[in-house]
Subunit: 580 residues, 2 copies
């Protein structure tokens, strides 16, 4: 491959695009890799398309090596498949829906469990056929409420999704492990720094699940990691260790006058000063009222969530815990309809009588005692004991996780970081096989229900993540395997530098290298260097003033190291540099 | 590449699918290459995906060789681009339209003129930037009224579309010629038999245009070819040579009583017998009433089309001639609203007074004399002279073309065949550049309006066309470059044939060949042979009973020639056979 900048469809930009906040978005636009068409919808320019192809190829090679077989489903799908699985409704607003000219309902596929299941059911029927793993690399669609960060979170994006089909749980575990290994190889080849984190299953149903998260300040996911035992988990999936239950006699509940205590902080100060309780925010029980809407339904159920007063409710954890239900703000109008809920003074003591579901943080164990609302304006209650003065309907993982919290595995303090989800592997189990009645006829003539795994890699997102992790103040720094070229030859000067550069480019191309050569006339060396740094090809060769002395300059984009090399040996030395 | 049938996700079918009428549809389904998901929407199974990749790769290589630069646009597009060009409306029902969660209008791209134009406008501004040719290979969407023939005419399909951007008409012609050459190479590599035909521009606007049509009985297009001068044209685009105008005195128009003459045939017989006119159907003028609807509008204009009575109106030619207007049947209710139009007895004499547009076949020249309706029940008129008794508003190419018609170029009789459009090259001109104001700043500081070419290849359709043209009664017969594998090794027998077959497969794979090996146990030789013939890999090797004598059988799927080869030399001989 030999690309000449003089004719390459590429214009770099000096300034960051106005709507860009994260480095990958800024740099991919500035370097002329992508252009915005609509919110969360981008076009790929030639260099961007090359990088996207490289990422795709690596993903494909590792899927094939693992024994995956590539198929390709439509993106435009009839409603019935998703109706059968319940996801036509469950997906809510995330689904792009449309009608064809006959008025039939269609959707743009956000993920293809239903289709894979149906395909296997259509072709396979005997236990001898299994296991099988199918995958596709395809454009997918999700109508994100907040598309952001360029192609990091788009509404049209490229994804690799695969599914394993096994006869039993052990088989599923093997398929899952194979995918895990393949993902490790894939992300290593892509040059991505990642962590494997325990994950929630989300709207997918199923059990064991891990995410590959790429640490990045711009990440939308928060993950917890323990440097002591190696535990890592998406904050959504972190389970809070419950303290032991408390037994024995406790003083009776008492109601306290607490005027002017609108916040936990003012409440704690007030009860400590006025009543000498000696409590901290962690001893108070904060009750948050929500509406939970089931997708496809107009009705919303009222839910109260109780968390220790020193912690906020983490909305993503809450969403994860309630999925597919969607939590919504409980507004003034809703309070007006529930006079029993006294805003600012809600205590769980009355919820059973009000017929409102109450879910609590796992720390709220039986026998634990709390300062909480007394369900009267200006009043709180102390010595409110779980199991005695109120009985929660269950627990919920909704409280924020904080750095220094106990590791759920070893108890050491954990740290908290932000990351971007680039992969998800998931023991889906029999949810979709049940919906589609996907069975295999066993050796004994009995039907065996198939168990599935579901595995995804965000292909276009992985590209953005590489840009997010691999850049410096000058521009992109691509790992060689994904770079749009192996070497970027910059010809500066007014003599025959361009000619020499083109000769060298030809020689390097002949050895199988992918070459980009800046053969533009009338463009200053400064602009050419800046472009080379911005574009991020890992090896840069400068044919410039040294030409008279028979030398070129070899630059390593990663280390910044420059060395002079004799022009006569340039082809061999550059090729060697590209192949280390 | 080494695929083992024992684990390949493939089940061939013995019977043709119920909804399939054309060979490619039957065979691609039976051979397990594709499966139907919805009308005109298909999934690709592993072998189908491999063939699709091969076709795609060939198209890409030839586009790159020609100097095309690959980009990738979204399929989900906001309305504004198509609103600006007028195609949001013009496309009518063919467009899949949808709304996002905020109620904004989107469409699924049927073709991307607007986006390419906008992209070039965004990046380029100087005459020095041009010419440039961009292309993409992408999934496209059209809500066809009659999706049919499997992937030959789908609603979701893969297309290569490219656009050239030039400063002047000569540049456009060069770009057009380059594409023409690249298409010739592409279709030759794909092994497709094709004709280059003059074409209509359809809803695209613009001027010079040619189609690559693959002759096939199942084709939806009709094309004309002249074996004498080499002229070839889509029937839609054939221009009818006009005979010379007729001058001199003619008898006056006379009205004849013609009871019981509902058809042209009965009319001709009647007027010849009763009035001794001595005319044929070709001397009668048949007037067809239509409504023409403008997409996006509720109003339909009335139009009368006059053609010689010996010819039917060809609806596709009519549609082509009226595009983007859409012709519709003039129904009884419409006649009721136009009492001046006497059904069965319409003559053009009254149309001007009725305010109805009248377009005629080019044979209806000034001075030509016709037998036609007299606009009274049971009456016709003779000696109705064009230019004297009626003046048409213009001509229209709507009459059917017939084998034996005069070649518009040389006058020899033409032949008529059916074909499938696989490519279209088109000098689009400045339509979209005008809409988008796509200019380049010239060397003199003046703006130059860019002129564009538009070029398409139906990638998934080309695959189906190969299947349509390359098959026999046993199954598919792929050209090597698009075949899912180079060689299909069939192991029959109960001894160590499978082992030997796998060894040979490994050897062949090591030489770079793509190998499919039928290593299934418990499957009869007959079934394996039938599958090999159905799948259509060009070279078949049988490891069977000859194993004891140290021989294998080498079969050529195209010629059917079989020869015994010594097993010891099998790898070398098979490799040689695959590389001829």
């Amino acid at each position: 491959m030999l690309l000449r900048m003089s004719s390459l469809f590429l214009r770099t930009l000096r300034d960051d695009p106005a709507d860009a906040e994260v480095p990958s978005h800024k740099l991919l636009v500035r370097a002329g890799y992508v252009r915005r068409v609509a919110p969360g919808i981008y076009s790929w320019l030639p260099l961007g398309k090359l990088v996207l192809e490289n990422v795709t190829r690596i993903v494909r090679e590792e899927m094939n090596r693992m024994g995956g077989q590539e198929v390709l489903f439509p993106a435009l799908l009839p409603r019935d498949y998703y109706e059968a699985s319940g996801r036509w409704t469950e997906y809510g607003d995330l689904l792009f829906r449309l009608k064809d000219r006959k008025g039939a309902d269609y959707l743009l596929g956000p993920t293809h469990e239903e289709l894979f299941t149906d395909m296997v059911k259509g072709e396979y029927s005997s236990y001898k056929d299994f296991p099988v793993t199918l995958y596709q690399i395809q454009t997918k669609y999700r109508d994100e409420a907040r598309p952001r960060a360029g192609i990091l979170r788009g509404r049209e994006f490229v994804m690799k999704d695969s599914y394993s089909f096994d006869l039993d749980d052990d088989g599923l575990k093997r398929s899952y492990e194979q995918h895990r290994e393949a993902y490790i190889k894939t992300f290593e080849r892509l040059g991505i720094d990642y962590r494997i984190c325990f994950a929630m299953s989300g709207a997918m149903g199923g059990s064991a699940s891990e995410e590959f998260l790429a640490p990045a300040p711009s990440g939308e996911d928060t993950f917890v990691s323990c440097h002591s035992c190696g535990y890592a988990a998406n904050a959504e999936a972190v389970t809070t260790p419950a303290p032991p239950e408390v037994t024995g006699e406790r003083p009776p509940l008492r109601v306290l006058d607490t005027p002017g205590t609108p916040t936990i902080e003012t409440l704690v100060d007030f009860v400590n000063e006025r009543f000498g309780l000696g409590v901290t925010a962690a001893h108070t029980l904060k009750n948050v009222v929500l509406k939970v809407r089931t997708p496809g339904s107009d009705k919303a159920e009222t839910l109260v969530v109780g968390v220790p007063g020193d912690r906020e409710v983490d909305f993503k954890r809450l969403e994860g815990a309630l999925a597919p239900g969607v939590p919504e703000i409980f507004e003034a109008a809703d309070f007006a309809k529930h006079p029993g809920l006294v805003r600012g003074y809600i205590g769980p003591q009355v919820l059973k009588d009000l017929g409102i579901t109450y879910l609590v943080d796992p720390r709220v164990v039986t026998g634990s005692s709390w300062v909480t609302g007394a369900n009267e304006p200006g009043k709180h209650a102390a010595d409110v004991v779980a199991g005695r003065d109120f009985v929660p309907d269950g627990t919920i993982e909704a409280a924020e996780i904080r750095a220094g919290d106990e590791c759920p595995r070893c108890g050491s303090p954990v740290s908290i970081d932000r990351g971007i989800e680039i992969g998800h592997i998931f023991q889906l189990g029999r949810k979709y096989a049940d919906a589609a009645q996907l069975d295999a006829l066993g050796p004994d003539g009995k039907q065996i229900r198939i168990t599935m795994g579901s595995y995804g890699i965000g292909v276009s997102r992985a590209l953005a993540v590489i840009a997010e992790q691999k850049h410096d103040e000058l521009g992109l720094v691509w790992p060689r395997e994904v770079a749009p070229a192996d070497v970027h030859i910059v010809a500066t000067g007014k003599d025959n530098q361009i000619e020499v550069a083109l000769d060298l480019a030809g020689e390097l191309e002949a050895t199988g290298l992918r070459v980009l050569v800046d053969d533009r006339k009338g463009v200053s060396p400064g602009v050419k260097f800046k472009d080379a740094e911005l574009l991020g090809v890992p090896t840069i060769v400068v044919i410039g003033r040294g030409l008279a002395q028979g030398v070129a300059e070899l630059r390593d984009r990663v280390t910044g190291v420059k060395e002079e090399i004799p022009l006569a040996e340039a082809a061999a030395l550059v090729a060697a540099a590209c192949r280390t």
